[in-house]
């Protein structure tokens, strides 16, 4: 049955080569922890992606309850945390996942750096990776405001003040982030939009480029 469905689609779209591009490749010995235990350092990239997927899924569930306005944002998070069944778990996964993804990404970056894997011909993939790093930090910064408690409010206020101290551009950065002259209702909706639409969109595009280049170039060889 499954086979015939696959064949039916394959006849029309010729998907077998796609499958071969995505999944049908060899994993060399030097990155396989089953052969060299120290190769576990090559796991961090995959784990970063794993936790990113968890972040996307848990974030999708959080938006079912979260209300991005200054009166209800805190109340909706409070409701989710204390009243909704397993709400504390879903929010907890998103909260701790945000830290964990930074840790994993940091370790992955260090692995790539210390194994010299960023060298020719993989320069572009390193740069895309660094852009992913910046987008992740942006996701952390925008997501921190959303519960709208004092910690969130003051961290954002100080963060924007720091950005505003940049000469010339600073003023415009502050107005863009705040959506006005103060950290308030506009800031919250803006950060929400950045956090759930703009930055994840950029992240997915960059991840696509990252993975495409890995498949095209393969894993860097043994040292």
């Amino acid at each position: 049955m499954l086979k015939s469905v696959y064949n039916w689609i394959d006849e029309r779209l010729d998907i077998t080569p796609m499958w071969r591009d995505v999944a049908d490749h060899e994993v060399p010995e030097h990155v396989n922890p089953a052969h060299h235990f120290s190769a576990f350092v090559y796991c961090f990239g995959g784990l970063t992606f794993f936790i990113t997927v968890i972040q996307i899924l848990s974030g999708m569930f959080l938006t079912m309850y979260f209300v991005p306005d200054i009166i209800n944002a805190y109340k909706s998070v409070d409701y989710l945390q204390h009243k909704v069944a397993f709400g504390v778990i879903v929010r907890g996964m998103h909260h701790w996942g945000a830290s964990l993804v930074i840790v994993m990404m940091f370790l992955h970056t260090l692995r790539v750096f210390f194994t010299g894997s960023y060298k020719a011909p993989r320069e572009m993939n390193w740069i895309v990776g660094m852009l992913i790093f910046f987008v992740m930090l942006g996701l952390g910064f925008t997501g921190y405001l959303l519960p709208w408690d004092n910690k969130a409010y003051y961290a954002t206020k100080v963060g924007i003040q720091i950005a505003a101290s940049v000469p010339y551009a600073g003023e415009y950065i502050a107005i863009f982030l705040q959506g006005g002259d103060i950290v308030g209702a506009q800031t919250l909706t803006r950060f929400f939009a950045l956090h759930v639409f703009f930055l994840p969109g950029a992240l997915l595009a960059l991840l696509g480029a990252h993975f495409f280049m890995i498949r095209k170039q393969g894993i860097s060889g043994p040292l």
Binding site: V27, N32, Y74, L100, G116
Partner: protein, 303 residues
Amino acid sequence: MAHQPHDPNEKVVYVGDSRVRKYEKNNIPRDYSAYPGKSEAFVPNFLLKEWMVGAVVMVGYMMLVIAHPSPLGYPADPTNTSFIPMPDWYFLFLYQLLKYPYAADSYILLGTLVVPGLAFGGLLLAPFLDTGKERRFYRRPIASSLMLLSLIAVGYLTIVSWQHYEHELEVNGIIPEHIQREEELLAAIEAGKPVPEPGGEEPAPVAIVDKDDEGFQIYQKATCTTCHGDELKGMPPQLPALAGIGDKYSKEEILGIIENGIGGMQAQYQANLDSGLTEADIDLLADWLARQKSDAGEEVEEG
């Protein structure tokens, strides 16, 4: 434009019925046997192993989630002046950097643009700065030592920033709001009272008991009013309301607090004597405050 069924002898071959030329792909992965060493198929062999690593990480992750519910303090209050702003932990090193004299005030550019710009710019452009063929880290001492130095600096700044924060909390007698909130919640549940909902409806203010009493006049002259207000309302959660304080403390305990202070509050006994109150006044005041019970008003009405 549809093509004729293609002739294998034709020079130009098109993809399907399009005008796109078909070309030979040169990036088809080589056969497994072409790889040296003990290589392994990604699907399913290696993927299953990765799956197991993922499962182990997932268990640790869920244990963290269950053991430590994510923090939530009190609703954002722009008028709150005593809150210590703290970014998330991975921004602490930048935050701490800006506290040093040579990265702040007139040198602020150094802290906000130059140092982070050099660090992140260097990282971004690493492949073009370190162009040698050598990949092993011990054979590229400049790149490796710069990275190690940055790691040490980032680690140091993060730790110092956190220690400074903890020190500030201790000196000012502040409990982080998410902990305070959670304690309040647990206390309410244990006492069988309704669960407090900050950001919800404002609770009805507790009425002042015996407003005609001499205690109220003494209160107006006491130093208490600076923080707790003329109407005993305070400014929760930092400055607790004194209306209803009798629920929490007895007269002796209130006297103790006036004499020794509590949390962020300094001792007020001497300050009150200096502002013209007598010891008897303070005793009366403590007695009156101890009578400030939230249900006292109702009892009087019932009686």
